[in-house]
């Protein structure tokens, strides 16, 4: 329910509307595969950026309904196929939202695996139960009919767009913006001057919520926004 105490916040027109887009992804099977952590490390250095995107950002969307226990494909494989809980914990702790480029995300994953293997050298060549198959994501951006000229329309559109649209603007966006932010926060701050609301959206924990939960939290937070 939108607060009636500050109606101007909800109806004030933004100079530029927010156009909701979405994205669709096709999975390409890559040449790289890893049968051990040592091979994973090698492949992490040579795989395309789209593979890093697929196994971190995109897998989060594919598993958007899970609240706990799933972070990225590398962590999941280290845990289930290599039985390396310590490495899995460290990889799972990576928050994709702290990265504004795939290059820096790749470096961080490599650093974690390298560091782990330095202290656990016997793990380097131990065969995994199942190989890790590198895939890559080919993305197509899709416009949607939803646009918002003010906060009220923005909240209404948030209720109606697909989960993929939420992922596109709220999670993937930082790779486009090259900022530790998201399309929603950027628009709310720039076009409506809602700096506090914009900042608070960035604190939503995408790793302990489903994307549907994220949608609901976005709506809840913005419905109680103050100028």
């Amino acid at each position: 329910m939108i607060s009636s105490a500050t109606p101007d916040v909800f109806t004030r027109a933004a100079p530029s509307p927010f156009h909701f887009n979405s994205s669709s992804h096709l999975l390409r099977i890559e040449r790289e595969r890893a049968d051990s952590l040592g091979e994973l490390l090698d492949a992490l250095r040579s795989c395309p950026d789209e593979s890093i995107f697929q196994h971190t950002f995109q897998t989060l969307q594919e598993h958007h309904y899970i609240r706990e226990g799933f972070s990225n494909d590398f962590a999941h494989w280290a845990y289930t196929e290599c039985n390396e809980a310590g490495l899995a914990e460290r990889l799972a702790a990576i928050d994709v939202r702290t990265f504004t480029s795939l290059a820096s995300l790749r470096e961080q994953i490599i650093r974690i695996v390298e560091d782990y293997l330095k202290w656990n050298p016997l793990s380097r060549d131990r065969a995994a139960l199942e190989p890790f198959y590198f895939c890559a994501s080919e993305s197509v951006v899709i416009p949607t009919p939803f646009k918002a000229q003010n906060l009220r329309e923005f909240i209404e559109a948030l209720k109606r767009v697909s989960i993929h649209s939420i992922h596109h603007h709220f999670i993937e966006a930082r790779l486009r913006l090259k900022l530790a932010s998201n399309d929603f926060s950027a628009w709310l701050e720039k076009e409506l001057g809602l700096r506090q609301a914009a900042a608070s959206l960035n604190r939503i924990d995408i790793y302990t919520l489903t994307l549907e939960d994220v949608r609901n939290q976005l709506i809840r937070m913005l419905s109680s926004a103050r100028a």
């Binding site: 669709s24 096709l26 999975l27 958007h64 309904y65 899970i66 199942e130 949607t144």
Partner: protein, 463 residues
């Protein structure tokens, strides 16, 4: 449609059973007893009736339209799909496979082609023809590509190529994209040089360990395509052309997966003698050793020392396959005289009955020892059923251990998970819920339509 009283072959191991008044409800909310003694000390009553299954296949219902999927996937998803396809308006596609009826590929194309037409992507579907000798050779190829031993003769190569050539001359390839399904029509690609369209090879089989002779024969043909599609990264080969991943999918509106009236589910259970007041553990599979039905009976018996439940093993393959009949006999022997083990040999057109059995079940088991993708698992997950499955083939793609189901590697592990899930209904319910969402996001027909549209856009430079 004629119906008989006993065309489905029910093979119950006893004519009476022992439902316990202590056990109520199904679907994760059961109150189950935990302890070493199965509940048996209650009055016996007549349970097994003869099932009523038609002895001929029912008329196929008309294929669904795109709008029919809106209540399932939501309007925004459907709108996105329609938008994705707008740039393909006026483009055309040809699908070629080797059979118009029967088998998963024909079933999928029967649904895909009208949906693509609704998206204004003209989609033609051609089926190659050939004599018995050709199809015997391609069946041998199929088994060899799955790793079986096979001596590829020059005669077989020539017969394969000759039939492909006859079909090539009969067919026109004027479409923008030509999709060839599986190895049988693979050599049609020799028409590529005469037509500007993009050629895609859709491989539905597991090529992880192919017979080198057969693969060596097919490989030069596959290299001529513009792209290949596999059902799992582990089924793919190293190829010079781009390879894409299309998971197999289920149609949520098919007879096997659509929502059913509660009264129908009850009727099927009544017909088959399944007691819905007690927990039901079900495996739907052919009577095939690779599905380990004997292992499922053993796991059930171990679990029954702690929890009350019935076991339903339903599937076909025993009446038309000599090995299936042997396996069914083994299962009957393993079941012994347990009145709570219900063995059902069903004809191939029992989709609605299977759907009802799955929906009535408390847990679904798919304890395969070897598996392709395992669409029975997809079906179980779609019905929000807590699922226990062997960690083989494509199953781990669907069952993420302790998140969308549980994976097992042994009879003992399976027995433990039956006990655990029956006594932890909240956890089981959450697994079922996650499993449903996993299928909705990744393994539905509509997701695959989106994949096809994306692929066509990419291949035609319209991405």
């Amino acid at each position: 449609m004629s119906e008989t009283q006993n065309s489905g072959n029910i093979s119950s191991v006893a004519e009476t059973a022992s439902p316990s008044a202590e056990h109520n409800g199904v679907g994760g909310s059961s109150t189950v007893s935990v302890g070493p003694e199965p509940a048996t000390a209650v009055p016996k009553r007549e349970r097994r009736k003869q099932p009523r299954i038609s002895d001929t296949p029912p008329m196929a219902p008309p294929p669904p339209r795109l709008d029919d999927y809106e209540p399932i996937i939501g309007k925004p998803e459907l709108d996105e799909l329609r938008f994705l396809a707008t740039v393909l308006k006026g483009k055309s596609v040809k699908m070629v496979n080797s059979t118009a009826v029967g088998g998963g590929v024909a079933e999928m194309l029967n649904r895909l082609v009208p949906l693509m037409a609704e998206l204004d992507v003209t989609t033609h579907w051609d089926v190659i023809t050939g004599g018995n000798d050709f199809f015997e050779i391609t069946k041998a190829f199929h088994n060899a590509l799955h790793g079986g031993s096979y001596e590829l003769s020059r005669q077989a190569q020539e017969a394969f190529l000759a039939t492909n050539e006859q079909n090539r001359q009969r067919m026109a390839f004027e479409e923008d994209v030509i999709v060839i399904h599986d190895p049988q029509p693979a050599a049609l690609v020799s028409s590529k040089k005469d037509h500007p369209g993009k050629w895609v090879w859709r491989c539905h089989i597991d090529l992880s360990n192919p017979n080198p002779g057969v693969w060596g024969f097919l490989r030069p043909m596959i290299d001529q395509y513009d792209a290949a599609i596999f059902s799992s990264p582990k089924f793919a080969r190293q190829l010079a052309i781009p390879q894409y991943l299309f998971y197999p999918c289920i149609d949520p509106l098919s007879e096997k997966n659509k929502e059913l009236d509660e009264s129908y589910i009850q009727k099927v259970c009544d017909d088959f003698g399944v007691d819905r007041s007690r927990p039901i553990v079900t495996q739907i599979s052919r009577f095939d050793r690779l599905k380990d039905p004997v292992g499922v009976v053993q796991a059930y018996k171990m679990a029954r020392n702690y929890v009350d439940c019935q076991l339903v093993l339903a599937g076909g393959g025993a009446s038309d396959d000599p090995e299936g009949a042997v396996v069914l006999k083994e299962v009957q022997e393993a079941a012994g005289d347990d009145p709570d083990i219900i063995l059902l040999e069903l004809p191939p057109w029992s989709a609605l009955e299977i759907n009802a059995l799955q929906r009535a079940s408390t847990l679904i088991v798919q304890k395969s020892l070897k598996e392709g993708f395992g669409l029975t698992v997809t079906e179980a997950l779609w019905k929000s059923k807590p699922t226990i499955a062997g960690a083989v083939g494509g199953i781990p793609t669907q069952v993420i251990h302790k998140l969308t189901g549980v994976l097992v590697h042994s009879v003992e592990g399976c027995a433990y998970q039956i006990r655990y899930l029956l006594t932890h209904p909240e956890f089981a319910k959450q697994l079922g819920k996650n499993g449903h969402e996993h299928v909705k996001e990744n393994l539905l027909m509509t997701t695959n339509v989106r994949r096809w549209v994306l692929l066509f856009r990419i291949l035609l430079g319209l991405a």
